[in-house]
Every structure is written in C-alpha cells, then in structure tokens.
Symmetry: C2
Subunit: 399 residues, 2 copies
C-alpha cells in the first residue's frame, strides 16, 4: 500500500490535470460483469489488477479495471453512497490499482435503482461524482436501467427522451465539476440513436445495442451489425458494441479471433470480460496481440466499415494513420470446411500496387495480386494490413 | 364466460387431438413483455384478445395471446403453482381467449426462478405442465434465466450444457405427457448454438440472440445478423429472432416496415409486442398486410437469406411455394436521401424472364428488366415477390 503523502501528491496531480483529454483512443481494460456479475469484490478486483499486469495485458495498453453493478451499499444520513460489505475500503482499493499503474472504474445508473436493484445516482449526481473523485475513480459506466421506470411515466416519447438526455447531462456536469478526468461511458443500449447526441452530453463511449452474450451469433449479430454509424466515432467519443467475451468459453478460438479482429476494425473499446487470473495462454495471446491492438488504437480513430460481401464472406476495412489500411476477411459460415474466396482488391477500394501483412500470423505477404485468394476457417477471419507500394522484400523487414 | 359443459367438451377435444402438429408455420400472435412487462394482468390480456379480433389481426393469422413473466404466484403445500393476484382465474381467462377463437400462452423458466424473480418450474416440470394443460394453455415460452445460476456451478462447460439440454427436455416430456398440443418456445438466447439441438428437445422455436429493443440498430443487428442458420428452420421448428417492436414508438414507420419485411423473409415467428388496444391505423396496416404475412407463413417454410450486398444495400431472398420468391431490398443507411441502386437480377439468382409485384404498394410491376433500379428510403425496404414468366399484364390480375 502506498504512503499517505504519495496518495496526496497523486490526488493533486490528478486535480491539476483536470483538462486532460480522456479516451483519445478507444478505452482498454477489463470489466467485472461478463464473468463475475454479482460476485465481484475487493479481492476479485485486486486479483484482476494483479493479473492484468502479470499477463502482460497492461504493457500493451489495457489500463482500466472496472467494477460493474453490485458494489453499492446504502446511503448515509447525508445521502453519501457507501460500498457494501464486499468493498470494505474503496479508496484503498483505488490506491492499490493505481500503484500498479492501472486505473479504477465504477458503475451507477441515472435512475433511482441499478439493473441489479442497487442504489442508483438519481438526485445524487453531484454527491456521487464527488465521492467517486475522492475515492480516485477514473471511469464511470452509467447504465440507463433504473431510469426506464421513470421514463415509462413520461407523458410523451419526446418527454421521456428529454428526461434521459438531461439525466446523462446532469452526471456529465457533476463529473466535470470534480476536476478529475473520468471516462464517461453511457450504457444506454443505443436508445434514441445515442450516437447522434452522446457526445453532446459528454459521453466518451456509448453502447449501441443490448448486451452481448458469449455466443458466436450474439457477437456476430452485434459486431457485423455496426453499419452506418461509423461517422459518429472518433477520438474522445466512440461507438461501443459492448465488452469482450474472449476467454469465457462460449466460443472457440477461431470465433474469439473473429471477435478481437472485428472489434479492432470497429475501433471499439476493448474491455476484457473474462477471469484474467485463470486465463489460458491462448486467451492471453488473443487479448494481447500487439498488431491487432494497434489497429484498434490507431491514432486516426476511424471506425472501419463493411466494403464487400459475397455469400457468408464479409470484408471490412479500417483506414489507418500513414495511409495503410486494416482489412478483415470474415467467414460467417460454420460449415466445417474452410471457405476459399477470390477477392478482387480493386473492389475493396485498394487501387494500384499494394503489399500485405498477415496480422495474426505475423507474416509478410509481399506485393498482393490484383485478385486475392483467401482461405478462411468456419466462423473465422484473415486479418491483413495493406499499404501502398511493393513493401518489404525480406523477412527482416517484417513489422 | 362459457358454461362448464362446454369447457369439458373442449378439453376432451384437445386431448383427442394430442398428436396434432403445432407451429407448422411460424407462430403468430402477441406477447405481453415488450409493452407491459411487469404490468400484465387478466384485464390486459382480455383487452389484447379483444383488440386482436377487433383490429382484424386474428383474421390474417394472429392467434396466440401470450402472457410473459410476472404472472406467477406461490406454490401451495402440494407444490402446485398458482397465479398471483393480477390473474384471479387463469382457467376463466383461457376460456375467454378460446371463446374468441384465440389461444393462450404462458411463461416459465427451467430454473428455480424466472428472470423477474418469480417462481420457475425447476423440479416441478410435470406438475406445471399438468397445471398449464388443465387451464387450457396452448403455448409455453420457457426462459433459461434462472437456470443460469445453477449452470454457473457446473464443473465444466460440458456439464452446464448437459444440465441445460436436460432441463429443456424434461419440460418437453412433461408437455407431451399432458396430451395437449402446446407450442414449446425455447427462450434460451442462442446459447450453445441452440438451432443445432433445439428440435431434439421438442422446441418449436428458439431464440437465436439476446433481447431485441425498440430501436433500428437493435432490430437490424439481430434481423440482418441471422446468417448461416437458415437450414435449421422449417415447419414445426423455427429460428426466433425475438418478438416484434412494431408500434412501440422507438422506430419510424419506414423502420417498422423494414422490421416486418425482414421478419417475414426470415420465416420468423410474428409476435406483436405493442398495445393492441391503442394502436394507430398505421400500426394495424404494418402488422396485418396479408401479402407480407403470406411470405412469412409460406407453406415451404424456408428461411430467407442474404444474397447480395453493396454498401448499405442488402438483398434478401426467400423461396416460396410454387416457384416464386420474395425479394427484399434493404437500405441500412439513415442518410436523409433515398438510395437508388442498380441491381442485376442475375446476381440474385433470378435467371430468365421474371415478373414482379411490389408487396407493400400492392402494385404489379410486369416483366422486370435485367437490371432493376430500386429507390429505397433511409432505413427502408422495397419488398417484391418475383415469379418466372411475363406475369399478369392488367391491373385486374393483381394478386
């Protein structure tokens, strides 16, 4: 545990840095819900923070350790929220996480109650934001849930919409007032096209659909369904197709590779949702491939889009800084045999001479032919980066 | 209310017809959850049944009036489930619904508790099935929810899977034993690729993803995400992309038209989720277009699939009885202007001379050109039926 004087110093630093921009690239980290749900605790969070460092995840950019719903206890006579018995000392926990170079996230609702029926922030926005800042919280996931009950009583849909927007804006103002840089995650299920107004209430990311689940069809329906909202994403404000299920066991390795590749092409937040303390080497490799993460975190912050489809084959392209592009060839069929497809690169918007790099296999492909033959496993992906020109000629020039 | 002697007679008839196949075409009806959630009651159900007849919905095929979660009360000393105070007499309610020529559906979970925390059927499967049959229930939605808690304690994922399959099979056996034809709806969120084993546990339909919500992106992600599972659907056993949101207010008319068209092409169950008692004429028109419903209910029971994509334009085709095809041209972009696209019909698998019919506009198009120019509104659809040959030449031959 860090000494009191060091804690004071870091609190001052954070305060001084209040104008510091957050989520300049899509947030990366971990969240407790997908694996632990109502069983999250101080011990779980410490173990996940330990594992995030030990596994190498933190060295490739994962930084937020986010507590989801069920941490909340009662409000005291002054209305101040306290954690429940599973979180004996939230400030000490934040110190522990910070001492590892990581950041701590928390969860609440704009409604009186959260999804799991715990205390929400309705009518306590400023008080709660102050409490979070005093604890040293760096990220807030704010989940519509409990507000729906109030919205259902609104006189008109327009009034319900107004109620929702104002509730999100209230917490935004409260977070700003703390002077602490806190990522503001709108967990609002895409209601009323949130991508069109999420940034105006200070959202750094906003969920676009209902919850993901740990199955290929759920992941694919959500991921491949992110159509025509690309233009709303960019540095500081991201479309969020929900957290990762990688390593939770409901998909095979090929399917999880698709999940990671697609999220990277979408410039999606990468919040692992598995138990980091017990994950296999294969899961670590899926979560930490640096070239895949570089695609997600590219400084231009452009969300990729679908450019070509034939049968169950989809090709998605994400322009990257420096003029190269990430190109994902996805096979949405689960027929046992690999799919082999001929893809004319000109139809993907790749004109002239280009060279390719196979991202997952870390293999230089040299100059690509005008029509590329790709073989893609069932539910799998081939992920390339493609750059203008002939490219490196020898393995020593691999990136 | 019907007399006791008539009730006895209809119970005998149902028993005699125990081998009667159900869900030969995708089930059509209404379900309480999307609009009423925890506020469903006997009065609500009677009002919806009244409205289903009055609006003309019943005359085009809607027949199931389905009570979702929160009807459950306590079990008595013998373990028999009773409804709560909002449903004073379930048998009388079933009689009321049946007297209108409609059928009544109910809801439970294979777990000890339902999603909303009410009594589930775990360990009471035969008892509950008998109770449902005695009430005159015609449809059971069986929601995984409460079983997840038990599955989470299973030693391995394989053991959890086994637990789930066995739980669904137990209720299937219990339903069969009643001798009453009861549609069996697996609400299981697509876990473990349910389409591969759902029919083996007697499922007549199974949800393929998490819940839909009343927004275009949620509807589109789920609907357009039904890829590569077409072959698992057919008479008696259907993929279920979830209930309809038509009329609930979160989408505009064009978007709801897309919703209906896509569900029809998918041979999806059509379970309205709005308040039938207060719907507008526009909503009635969306829900009851007979030509759209004919596509959904086509006797071949083939689930349509995506055949062509260009940018935000997707074309889906469903083969129909008699050699014609339903063809949906969808514009997934929400840019304000209509999208105009040139579609070479040969690339849709439509060879030779074909004639077309514009379904929503009920307009004969005559012989179609080899390359069709379609203008599609933002988030909208153009839905055609296409048949070989030159087709009818005069408006009087319109179908």
């Amino acid at each position: 545990m860090r000494s009191a004087s060091i804690i004071l110093a870091s609190a001052l630093l954070a305060s001084a840095a209040s104008a510091e921009p957050v989520a300049v690239t899509p947030p990366m980290g971990w969240n407790s819900w997908n694996h632990f749900a109502g069983k999250v605790s101080d011990a779980v969070i410490r173990a996940q923070a330990d594992a995030m460092v030990r596994s190498g995840m933190s060295s490739v950019g994962y930084v937020y350790v986010n507590i989801d719903d069920t941490w909340e206890g009662e409000r005291d006579a002054q209305g101040v929220i306290h954690p429940n018995a599973r979180f004996p000392d939230m400030k000490a926990l934040a110190d522990y996480v910070h001492a590892k170079g990581l950041k701590l996230g928390i969860y609440s609702s704009p409604g009186p109650k959260t999804c799991a029926g715990y205390e929400g922030s309705y009518g306590h926005e400023e008080q709660d934001a102050r409490t979070y800042a005093a604890w040293g919280i760096d990220y807030l996931k704010y989940d519509l849930c409990g507000l729906r009950v109030l919205m259902a009583k609104a006189a008109t849909p327009a009034a319900a919409h107004q109620m929702m927007v104002e509730a999100y804006e209230r917490m935004h103002a409260a977070l700003l007032k703390t002077g602490r840089p806190i990522v503001y995650s709108l967990c609002q299920y895409g209601k009323d096209d949130v991508w069109k107004w999420g940034a105006s209430v200070g959202g750094n990311l906003w969920r676009t659909t209902e919850d993901i689940s740990d199955s290929y069809l759920s992941m694919a329906a959500i991921g491949f369904g992110q159509i025509d909202i690309e233009r709303y994403a960019g540095p500081g404000h991201w479309n969020d197709p929900d957290m990762l299920e990688v390593g939770n066991g409901g998909m095979n390795e090929e399917e999880y590779r698709t999940h990671m590749s697609l999220w990277a092409l979408l410039a999606a937040p990468l919040l692992a949702g598995n138990d980091l303390a017990t994950m296999t080497p294969a899961t670590v490799a899926l979560l930490t491939n640096p070239a895949v993460i570089a695609i997600d975190q590219d400084s231009r912050g452009i969300q990729g889009e679908r450019v070509w489809v034939k049968g169950a084959l989809e090709v998605w392209v994400k322009p990257l800084a420096g003029g190269s592009k990430a190109v994902g060839f996805f096979n949405r069929s689960d027929r046992a045999r690999d799919t082999e497809a001929e893809v004319p690169l000109g139809e993907l918007g790749l004109q002239g001479r280009v060279h390719g790099h196979d991202v997952w296999n870390n293999k230089e492909l040299g100059t690509l032919p005008e029509t590329l033959t790709v073989r893609i496993p069932a539910h799998g992906v081939v992920l390339l980066t493609v750059s203008p020109g002939p490219g490196p000629q020898s393995p020593s020039q691999q990136h």
